[in-house]
Symmetry: C2
Subunit: 326 residues, 2 copies
Amino acid sequence: MSGSEAVAKPGITVLASKISKEYVDEITKKVEALKSIRPEGPLLVGFLANGDPAAEMYASWTKKTSESMGFRYELRRVDEKDFLEEAIIEANRDDAVDGIMVYYPIFGNAQDQYLQQVVAREKDVEGLNHVYYQNMYHNIRYLDNEKQLKSILPCTPLAIVKILEYLKIYNTLLPEGNRLYGKKVVIVNRSEIVGRPLAALLANDGAIVFSVDVNNVQKFTRGESLKFIKHHVEDLGPYSEDLLKQCCADADVIITGVPSPKYKFPTEYVRDGTVCINFSSEKNFDDSIKTKASLYVPMTGKVTISMLLRNMLRLIENAEKVKAKN
Amino acid sequence: MSGSEAVAKPGITVLASKISKEYVDEITKKVEALKSIRPEGPLLVGFLANGDPAAEMYASWTKKTSESMGFRYELRRVDEKDFLEEAIIEANRDDAVDGIMVYYPIFGNAQDQYLQQVVAREKDVEGLNHVYYQNMYHNIRYLDNEKQLKSILPCTPLAIVKILEYLKIYNTLLPEGNRLYGKKVVIVNRSEIVGRPLAALLANDGAIVFSVDVNNVQKFTRGESLKFIKHHVEDLGPYSEDLLKQCCADADVIITGVPSPKYKFPTEYVRDGTVCINFSSEKNFDDSIKTKASLYVPMTGKVTISMLLRNMLRLIENAEKVKAKN
């Protein structure tokens, strides 16, 4: 009991490439099967307008990854941010374009949220359209009453769900929709793009989620809403180290997404055996986490891009169904 | 020339109540004419979930104003912010509700932008739906290809356009769409809700607009877009007192919307005879502005509420047209 330092720490680092493998195979097969309607492969267009070298890197990596699975990828550089909206609208209207993604931030403020809604819902592979978010928050799986057109999920939160499935945090002995029952998850990030939707998704699947940002800590649970199947949110109080420590004390999973090179999650708050996942492009855990975490996923990008391409295939399926109907 | 202090300053303060009078009369008549389909008056529902006494005041004033024109107004208080989304969705679905407004801020962050999109487009009297903004930015006036359903404009920017019309800044000798040709306008605020759309609206009507925020100064002009009738934006540089001073030197109109009691626009930058309008709920100009401004509009709320109610009538007209068609 007392000699815990001497006990072997059999923690394992799990790479996103390993997690994404099954999806890569699945997607590659599906793209192959699409040859009859997309002989040259589906076309994904990425818009780069921020001149950010990191975004350039990400773009060339998206190109490589998507092409390796049989997609075509076209990077469109827009010199003036102000022209991006028109460029997106042009791609919305272009039948040759199957999917559209934008390398954010562009303006780095609320105008980016405006742009996200400019991308046609039918080509929004990132799943940023308001309809997709609203459906996600309310557990609505289809876009139409006939349940023919599947709604898609924002690709980063979806990727983290898939990672949690891979890591067996989702318990398949439990019924679907309740497979996180009994699990406690800490999420350090409450952005509208990832942190809040992720908290809702996990709560909708039965977890208790502690959602942490610089301002406060909130508890997401499934709740007992009368009218909608929807998560419930409770304020636990302003952010403090103590409160974070409390939340971590019996957390099964800690997920971080703080976009700062300076931020490090305090390893000393992590109990032995916690599953730790970082979705920030910065390294939010330092290496000491390996002495505590049972499973540690240092980066998630490769799973995210798989989900994005999976979304794209779903959008193409939807488009074909709409065409067949008309 | 040198004794300018001694010259009479015939500046006039114009109250929003005076500007809104013609709209109040027009709206009241239209509501009366709607008696056949809305015998008890159209129903506007306001949602209050922030417990803010200022919002309470604004709500009771909305109630009084709208009831005086023949509308019914119902304030719905939502105790927990987290329940607001469901309350809005309920109102979206309720045929008895004609219009919905929300007293923002609720969360005070990007989640408010999510909520704005939850309000059904057909009942969004404030005109905050993405479709309305996108139509506004692109000078699109209708929601349908048949040009039966009129798009609406966000109510605060619209109110300021109406104020500029009343003040004869819009020159009716010029053709519609070019009535601000030759005018220079400074706008201190570039929010997604008011400042940026307003700058675009005025640029679309031919003005040169200097859009100022804490970060930088941008110049909005109509531009010569190949594919869309749309404003053009140019960065003039980071914000500085000097740059602001330059922009004001030959400005015809200065419009402020800084939501802080501490902020005062420097009267010394205002040239004699400038038209000054403040749409912030705080007093952005101090009284010395009266020695400089030819026309000074210290508050705009009463025009805004008129535009909101006018939007509501338009939405009811649209709904009736859709009904007649089906």
